[in-house]
Each structure stands twice: as C-alpha cells, then as structure tokens.
C-alpha cells in the first residue's frame, strides 16, 4: 500500500515540477508573470483601443506564448552565435515552432516581403506631384541620427545605438531589419526589444505627435490651405519605382533589399498588368508574413531579456527618437512655409516619420481641428511615403557604417 502511495506522490511531484505553474513560482518566474501581464495590456490596446491590431495582436500573443514556462516554443540559447554564426542545423533539430518562424526574421526575409506588400498598397502620386515632399521625409530622419547621438553619449555600443536610433524612423519592418543585422552579439538588447518599442510608439502616434505639432506651429501656420496637387500620369507612376530603385541602390546598396522590394511592389501595382500578383502580394502574402513576423518577434520578448534596465533605456530613447523625428519634420516644414511665402502647411512635415498612413492622418486631423475645411491628407501622404524611402536609406547608412 505504501508503495502505491509513494508511486502516487512521486508521480504527482514529477508532474508538478515539470509543469509551467511550478516554473512560474520558481526562481525568476515572477518575470514571466509580469511579461504575461504586459502581453495582456498589449492585447487590450489592440482589441479594445484598435492600436495597430494587425501587428500588436500577433506580437502580444507571441509574447504570451514565449513567456509560458516549459512550453518550449522559443529557445533564445539556440540563437547565440558560435564562431560568429548561428548554428541553423541545431535550430532546425531542436527548435520549437516559434524558433522556426523566427528564421524569417533572422535571415531578414520578412521585412523586405512586408515592403513588397506595402509597395503594392502605396500610391506615390502625392510625392510625384510634389517632389519637395521628399525633403520633409528626409528631415524627419533627423530623429534617427540625433537619437544616435544621445544613445552614443549614454554609453550604448555602436550596434545598440544604431538599433535604438532606427526606432525614430517609425517603420517596424525597417527597425526589425536593422536590429537583426546589427544585434548579433547576444547583448542585453535584442531585436524583440527594438520591435516592441517601435510598434508601441507607432501605435501611440495619435497620442505622441499632436502635442508636439501644436507646440511647434502657430495657428496661422496650421491654417494654411495648400494648392491642389496636379494629376500624375501613368507613365510617371511606372517610371518612379524603377528610378528610385536604381538611384537609391546605387547610392546606398545596403538599402536595396527594402527599397527594391517596396518599389517592385509599387511597379506591380502601377503597371496594371499583374493583377494576380498584386492580389497575392498585398493580401495573402502580406497577411501570412505579418502573422509570422508578429508572432516570432513577440517570441523574442523573453522575460529575462526584457525586464532589465537597458530595455527601460530603449523605451525612453525610443520615444525621444520618435519625438525628435516629428519635431525635425515640423521644423523643416516651417522652413518651407517661410521659403514659399506661406504656401506649405508645416503640419505635413510631421508625416515624414513614416508610420504610413497614421502620421498623415494625424496631420489631417490636427489641421482640421484648426480649420475644418482644410484637407491636408493628400499633401501629408507625400512626406509620409517619402519617409518610408528616407528611413530605408537611413537604415542603409547605419548598416553600411556599423559592422
């Protein structure tokens, strides 16, 4: 009888020690618990508040899955470099589901494919009609480089500073692309940290940008009604992606995967002869990659990699980067307002931080608050899509310089 009881208690004890609940209350388990709660907050923001739900929901669920102890879906130890390389054979042999999905992030496949879909969905007409918008898109990248200064002065390494700075580009795929390439040393900051910060702030664009926009512009400047944009011919729309690919790739080759795929997608759209490919790229493929990217990036947010002081630094510098990018775009918008004799509404400058199309919507919204008959949306779309190209170029510069 006692043998049966011993067997019973031993089995129960074994089951308990192998369970996630035991691990949750074991040493350091509280960190997992916190991360699970954080994932709930993100789910709430995505579902109840509608903040970037297509990305925030997969990321938050990936965060939940990876922080469930003993589930074994993702193994950070498999991604530690051995002799400067990841042992991909080991990943395929020992990895969980999320390790396999993370291969697309690590091999930098997902961000360019997302850009392909974005290219299919983007209309560059406002930019082609008003090429000066490119300058606003360039100015907003000041957020990236000024944050690089702050991060460098705070003692972050070159790779960490570059990865944090790219958050200022307000472009999730670009941030993931750059941080995956730069953060290879297994330091305290991971791609998951950067992606989390980038997507958090992108989701918070409607909260972060308006106060800065109102603080840096006068009511008179915000009331400027811009001239209607000219109609862009189909030939111009077809030439544009080809020209941008050639010019940018020749100048900054490291930006070619992102800009090349963005422009390829746009060429598919504008050519008007590849309806099936466009349909796949902007719907099925885009959705599949978004799910894979979101869940696998969420998986990299293991509690011990997130709950540390450096991640606090990333979040702080992230919001600085975002705010500086917005401010730089606005300041350049004000310069253009002066130079053109009041023909440019400076509010469209803040849309230069990418975050398509949310940043342009904010320009429209703030403009309409000042004058409800003012329609800035199409004018703001120019700097907005220019910001996508600008942040890809800035990413190329960072990747070219930091090794």
């Amino acid at each position: 009888m006692s043998g049966v009881l011993d067997f019973f208690t031993n089995t129960l004890g074994g089951l308990w020690s192998d369970s996630g609940l035991h691990a949750l209350f074991a040493d350091g388990g509280w960190k997992n618990l916190i991360m699970i709660l954080v994932s709930f907050v993100f789910m709430y923001l995505a579902i109840a508040k509608g903040f970037e739900p297509l990305l925030l929901l997969p990321i938050s669920f990936g965060m939940l899955l990876t922080n469930l102890p003993m589930a074994g879906l993702y193994h950070p130890e498999l991604w530690v470099l051995v002799d400067g390389h990841v042992n991909y054979g080991e990943v395929l042999k020992e990895g969980g589901l999320l390790d396999i999905l993370y291969l697309g992030v690590k091999l930098q496949l997902y961000p360019p494919l997302i850009f392909l879909g974005i290219g299919c969905m983007t209309d560059f007409s406002p930019l082609i009609a008003n090429p000066k918008s490119f300058l606003l898109g360039a100015a907003a990248q000041g957020g990236i480089f000024f944050t690089f200064v702050v991060a460098g002065l705070l003692g972050f390494t070159a790779a960490e500073a570059g990865s944090i700075a790219i958050i200022g580009g307000a472009d999730g795929p670009t941030a993931i692309y750059v941080s995956t390439r730069l953060l290879t040393g297994g330091g305290a900051i991971t791609t998951g940290n950067i992606a989390l910060a980038a997507y958090t702030y992108m989701a918070l664009v409607p909260i972060i940008q308006p106060p800065i926009m109102k603080a840096l512009t006068s009511k008179k400047e915000r009331s400027v009604k811009m001239e209607q944009l000219r109609t862009v011919s189909k030939t111009e729309k077809i030439i544009f992606p080809i020209a941008v690919t050639i010019i940018v790739s020749l100048l900054v080759p490291s930006a070619a995967p992102l800009v090349g795929m963005l422009m390829f997608g746009n060429l598919l759209k504008e050519s008007g002869v590849a309806a099936r490919l466009i349909d796949t790229a902007q719907n099925a493929l885009m959705n599949i990659i978004t799910i894979f990217l979101g869940v696998s990036v969420g998986a990299t947010t293991k509690a011990d990699q997130i709950i540390n002081i450096k991640f606090g630094g990333v979040m702080l510098l992230g919001v600085i980067a975002f705010s500086l990018g917005t401010a730089c775009g606005l300041v350049f918008g004000k310069i253009m307002y002066k130079v053109t004799g009041g023909k440019v509404n400076p509010l469209i400058g803040s849309a230069g931080v990418s975050a398509v199309p949310m940043a342009a919507r904010i320009s429209q919204k703030v403009g309409a608050e000042t004058d409800p008959t003012n329609f800035l949306l199409m004018h703001a779309m120019g700097p907005n899509v220019a910001g996508v190209i600008g942040s890809a170029v800035a990413a190329g510069v960072l990747l070219s310089v930091i090794g």
Binding site: P131, L135, G185, G403
Partner: protein, 153 residues
Amino acid sequence: MLSFPVMLADKVLHGTEKLDGTQIVSMTIIGLLVVFCALLILVVFLCVSGGIFKKASGGSQKAAPKKDAPKPAPAAKAPAPAAKAAVPKASAPAAPASGEDEEIIAVIMAAISAMGAAEGKQYQLRSVRQVTRGGSGRSVWAQAGVLDATRPF
C-alpha cells in the same frame, strides 16, 4: 574626420565598441547628408521628369481645343430648345456667364423646369454665375468627395 567612401568600404564602427565624440558627430553629419543627398537627387529627378511630362501633356491639351474649336458656335442656340423640350412652357433662356458651357446651362434649366412642372410652377433662369471660393478652389462635388473620404480621420 571620417569620409563616407572610406566608411562604405570598411565598416568603421564595430558593433560591440562604444562610441567616442568624434565618431558620434561624424556619423550623425554623414548620415543626414547621405539621406538628404539621396532624396535630393530624387527631387531633382522628379522635378525634371515632371516638367517634361507637364510640357508633353500641355502640348497635347493645347492641340486638342483647336480641333474642337468650331463646336461651341453651333451649340450656342442649344439652351432654349433643350429647356423647352423638357417643359414646353418653361421660360426664356438665361444669360450665360462668359465661358460657361451652354449645354450645361440647358441641363440646369431642364432640371429646374422638371422640378417646377412637378409643383405646377414655372421658373425662369436669368443668369448663371461662377461662384468664387476663397478656399481650396475645388468644385462643390470635389469638396463633398474630399469631405466624404477624409471624415473618418
């Protein structure tokens, strides 16, 4: 001071090293310069190509009216019969503002006459004037379209 070609040739900042003041300043200036130069080249390209396309489309637009030039004269008498066709008792034709398309005036008159016929009344279109809008310069329909498209934002 670091020069950009050198930086592109070898990655001069090692990812694991901490940055000194010179590196930070150089990187910031070079980064901003490269981004601005790249996008400035695109601005120049778009301005040049846009100018060429504008000229090309402007030329074809100028050529087009010449072909259609004889049309307005025969259409000048169109409004009254058109209005009468809609409602025989409808009144005299309006005095069209210079440059207004007479066919459009006929359509407006026909619509007003039809409305009047339903109520048993007769209306007279005395003049059609262009309204000067101080704002965007969009037509009422374009304004309504823009409003409809941007209301959710």
